[in-house]
Symmetry: C2
Subunit: 708 residues, 2 copies
């Protein structure tokens, strides 16, 4: 690894050297107005379950719980398995389970606590997610009370480590099509669980490689010659050895270890397959579907499709919690990168002193908009978690709230996990070579976090789910409408198109702007303008997509498929824009709750940076669709630059408020070490100059000899 | 890791199931016209040094040379060190060195061979880059012939593993400011090499952690009280043990191991520091600067600044080779992802069969534009390498060609390494959970490649170097021009601004388009249109920046710094656009050399996808600056979608032509294993249906009972 040889353009012209020493302080450029109350903001970010979050965050600094990079492959697994026991003992992971079994009936608080485990190690987080959030949660949500009583205690106290055997190597996103079958045999009162071909091996399952002694297996339930669709079965898979740990596979069960992965190597992912394994009838998790002794299938949900989605929907907490984990990881990454950017100096500025990285315009642009998006993400997640708790506590459990929850979880999980991967990449680069050293943590976080974008729902597939919901809502506008109503709607839409598309409104805007960038900027700063722009982006695109796809119902299957397929890319993009809108709205609502005026002022700028970053990213759409005049569009970037610069003095406060200190970050460069080194170097040169020991530079010598 | 539960929007409406089985073949949608001659295209991509490239690529499949994921930390280092010896024995790494010392005086061929080592393992590539491309090359380019004769043999035959000690923990990009000093002592005829503070420790050096017995150390050369700037010194650092391997540090030398990194763990990066280490005068690498016995400094280059940049410029091959390595890695990543996308099926289509991933519009959009950019990158790299060879063979070695080479290397290295990181991310996601398994190689490539974006020049700093060159060229237009000339230029610029900015040309374009998307698309397909758009993007932005920065020379240092800093972000962005333009032009030139009509046709579409992807990414700029009417801008995405779909049947050919088969890719999912699994599953269901064994679905039963 070597370095480069150029001075950035920010270096002043030759001869600009000054002999007076200027020390641009960390707070160079005093805040124009406003000052963040870091503690109060920190409390706001902790949200509704602040106590649990704080407790879990503190537990995640326990030296027995944190990641140990020095361990080899098997050692990592063994350490993480041991850590799960500590989590049980510490009471950190059972909050979602029923009080009657030792839990707390606290679904929201449970997720809040879970999210903070990312501070210790993402392997630990996901391994505990497998045990209690998937294996345990499947028993909780898909089992009957009797099954909960019988099967949950072992899952909860970890005497039964379990796998969540849903995905197959041949079917990931399309769970409805898994190949594993569970065929009821009324002769024995058992299901025959079977893997019919290689593609139906269960795959990528945490706890399957080594530790699991049971699994919740998803299979096609067949009885009396009828396939009732995918159901979950509780299946012991391994013997338990004398030490209480998993030993060999039980008869009929087989599998393999997934071996080394790109990350999360503290988890023993593996594959499972079943050769006519007998499962007692009582082990069908029977909340949503039961098979009587004679093989008669019954369910409270008549439609097989709705039944399937209800069952899977009960497991939405995985997505909710990954959205929250994204927030934790982004916050940590930015806390590391901003601290380093505030201490690291490179290239001389106008004075003798070298410039702190975060004083460079480009560096501000790399980090500050990502701080803004992280705030948006955090506030939106708090709303998502509240909705989740409303539904799963039973307080507001309706089909509509469930549907809202699933859509919001999908939109936020997809956009948040992508954003976090991007932030981890940028943070690593912004820390240069230091970012690549494992003890500065960024590379390991990225390696582990990577898979978050495709598990618990591949982001691309999730956004299509969101898109279908948006299209469905759009279609409802037309439902039950008379021909006259529809004509009016269409006319309104057409007028809108004419107004925006023809450039008329653009011309009007250009005139009203009258060339004043300041006034345009004032317009952009307005909450209403931002909302209108971001909302329009979604609404117009949904309307266009809806119109484009309307003919599908009259086409033959292949033509209908092709029509959808032609618009699949747009559908994903509009859903992504919707996810961002949700975050912007949540941020805006959160602003209203801030009492301290200085904090509210600064956070309003942060919100504006988020909103205008979104507009800037898709500035072409806004201009092409007549939402911004070319003139006003030009001001977006300039205004954003000004806002970013204005936030620069607050950057450290904004990441400090995330609440992750050196003990959480465990990154050497986030401990002040770079500042020590820079200060020592500056003191050395100051001393050299003061004592006249410093050699004269050849350049200076040449100049003076020319003068002579 | 679990899965998700939604069917993408591409699924046809309920009831669309067809009983006739359709098998969308891999080539579904026969090529409209044109067919790639894969072998001929493959030869074209091999370029000028095809033989060396082929030989190196083949050597990189040697089982002794390839990466072994199973090894622990120390084992990886030991394996890679052993592999370096094999490279020497195989004659793969000495081509750049002088014939008189056993080399081949072949700088271009040497880099071509080096690039292909990425096929084996990026640790191997970079460790050999440290030994021969940095340590050896520094002796070659900065040493005198006598020093070459004395010092190169050990570097070449690996009896002297060496570190390239330029970067310090306190100074990476700003090499001119390193803290290490080498003060000449005329009493003893030695330099006193010293590390004055912690920030001046040499850092991140390959070979410094364990294997290095010497180093080329960059330090401020001080003699007779004058600092002559950074020079390179050949410095033994460790004892050589009886086994010929590095033993303890020599007196005065100290250091530490960098330990675990985010990737490249086959390399022993480490730190070094020096406490008044005595270095003989003869070990100053003296090509560009010499110190006489009495301490008199002389140099053939009068200006200290130009001398410094000349010395560093002689080491440009690092950047050239990383641009090439980016191409190799992107090609491998896409070969893996496209093969998988052509075999993996998910969700039923219009028929009973499930749809191959690459038949989805969104999946095409994820992979095909990246194939296009990889082609552009590959052709541009071939031009860069030819220029490098022209300069370093001495055939065309002038200050101008050196400057062009350095600018082009910076622009391409920065854009290519960023693109490759993005491609590795997208390829991993496109392969879902399978992409995360180490044996499918994508995660490991990304972990190792990560640092390429910031070493051999941080991309952000490199693009500023490019930007300064662009601004300099722009300023030359004004140099020596009379006031009248300048007025004319300014008037022309203003007219241009008025024409484009006021919307007049846009209005004219809208009228000429006359609402015909087809005709607009025809326009976009034109090479001249693409060139004009991409060139305008750079020229206009440079002109605007030049105008904005002009006042700097009249400002005080701080104000000048602030002015540059306010435009730093734009400067980086315009340089990035310039890098893309270079690639587009190289692609276009390469098209003209293709004789086979079918291949030329397909590659022309590929070039168009690249060009229009660039336009689409910055569509806002084109509209805001009046280069595209809103109407025409709307057609860009639609036309790009059509082109991408047209290329879909050629995708496999296009990645096959990269020339990397299973032996190079070493990814299980690139071996046909997914197709086997999918075929087996489809055969199973076909058989079940044929024999009537398949259970009837509950849904079908409900429908038929409703009918009854």
């Amino acid at each position: 690894m070597t370095a480069t040889d150029v001075r950035p353009a920010a270096v002043p012209p030759e001869g600009a050297e000054s002999e007076t020493e200027q020390v641009p302080a960390l707070d160079a450029g005093a805040p124009e107005s406003g000052r963040v109350d870091v503690d109060a903001l920190s409390r706001l970010l902790l949200g509704q379950w602040a106590d649990i979050r704080t407790k879990s965050r503190a537990a995640a600094t326990d030296e027995r719980i944190v990641r140990d990079d020095s361990l080899p492959f098997e050692g990592q697994r063994e350490r993480v398995f041991g850590q799960l026991k500590l989590l049980v003992e510490g009471g950190h992971v059972l909050r979602a389970f029923p009080s009657r079994l030792g839990g707390e009936d606290n679904p929201g608080g449970n997720i809040a606590g879970f999210e903070e485990l990312a501070v210790a190690d993402l392997s630990l987080q996901i391994k505990s997610g497998v045990q209690w959030g998937l294996f345990g949660a499947a028993i909780l949500h898909l089992g009957t009370p009797e099954q909960q009583d019988r099967l949950l205690p072992g899952a909860m106290n970890l005497s039964v480590p379990g796998a969540f055997a849903m995905t197959e190597i041949g079917h990931g996103s399309d769970v409805a099509s898994v190949g594993t079958t569970a065929t009821y045999d009324p002769e024995t009162g058992e299901f025959d669980l079977h893997t019919p071909f290689r593609g139906a091996w269960k795959e990528f399952l945490g706890n399957a490689g080594r530790d699991g002694v049971a699994a919740v297996v998803f299979a096609q339930l067949v009885s009396k010659g009828v396939n009732h669709g995918v159901h979950a079965f509780y299946v012991p898979i391994r013997e338990v050895g004398p030490d209480g740990r998993a030993a060999g596979f039980l008869p009929g069960v087989g599998g393999e270890d997934d071996g080394l992965k790109g990350g999360l190597n503290g988890i023993d992912n593996g594959r499972l397959h079943f050769t006519h394994v007998r499962v007692p009838r009582e082990n069908l998790l029977a909340r949503y579907g039961q098979v009587a002794e004679d093989g008669t299938y019954t369910s409270s949900i008549q439609s097989p499709g709705r039944r399937f989605f209800t069952m899977l929907g009960s497991l939405v907490q995985g997505r909710v919690s990954l959205d929250g984990a994204s927030g934790v990881v982004s916050k940590m990454a930015l806390a590391i990168a901003v601290r380093y950017a505030n201490e690291r100096r490179q290239f001389a500025g106008a004075g003798l002193d070298e410039v702190v990285l975060l004083d460079y315009g480009r560096h501000q642009r790399r980090l500050i908009p990502r701080i803004a998006e992280t705030y948006a993400m955090s506030f939106a997640h708090e709303e998502l978690l509240a909705l989740f708790d409303d539904v799963f506590s039973g307080r507001k459990d309706t089909p509509e709230t469930r549907e809202d929850l699933e859509t919001m979880a999908a939109a936020l999980k997809a956009t948040s996990t992508w954003f976090t991967m991007d932030t981890l990449l940028e943070a690593r680069e912004a820390c240069g070579g230091a970012g690549f050293i494992a003890k500065n943590r960024l590379t390991q976080l990225r390696a582990d976090f990577d898979i978050y974008t495709t598990f618990e729902g591949d982001n691309t597939v999730l956004l299509q789910l969101v898109g279908k919901r948006l299209l469905g809502d759009y279609a409802k506008q037309f439902k039950g409408a008379s021909a006259g109503d529809i004509a009016k709607l269409v006319a309104a839409r057409a007028a809108d198109s004419a107004l925006h598309g023809s450039g008329l409104s653009r011309a009007a805007q250009a005139i009203s702007d009258a060339g004043s960038a300041r006034r345009s900027a004032g317009h952009l700063r307005s909450e209403e303008t931002q909302r209108a722009l971001l909302t329009d982006r979604v609404q117009v695109a949904v309307a266009e997509l809806g119109a484009a796809l309307r003919p599908a119902s009259k086409l033959d299957p292949q033509a209908a498929f092709d029509l959808f397929n032609d618009h699949q890319h747009e559908l994903v993009e509009v859903s992504r824009a919707y996810g961002h809108l949700l975050k912007w709205e949540a941020f805006t609502r959160a602003l209203a709750t801030i009492e301290d005026a200085g904090t509210r002022q600064v956070l309003t700028w942060v919100r504006d940076v988020y909103g205008l970053s979104l507009v800037e990213r898709e500035i072409g759409w806004y201009v092409v669709n007549g939402r911004l005049s070319a003139q006003r569009a030009r001001t977006v970037t300039g205004y954003l630059d000004r806002l970013v610069r204005r936030l620069r003095p607050h950057a450290q406060d904004l990441v400090d408020a995330f609440g992750y200190g050196p003990a959480h970050l465990r990154a050497e460069i986030a401990t002040g070490i770079e500042k020590e080194r820079q200060d020592e170097a500056r003191a050395y040169y100051r001393e050299e100059r003061a004592t006249g020991r410093a050699p004269i530079s050849e350049k200076a010598l040449q100049k003076s000899s020319k003068r002579a």
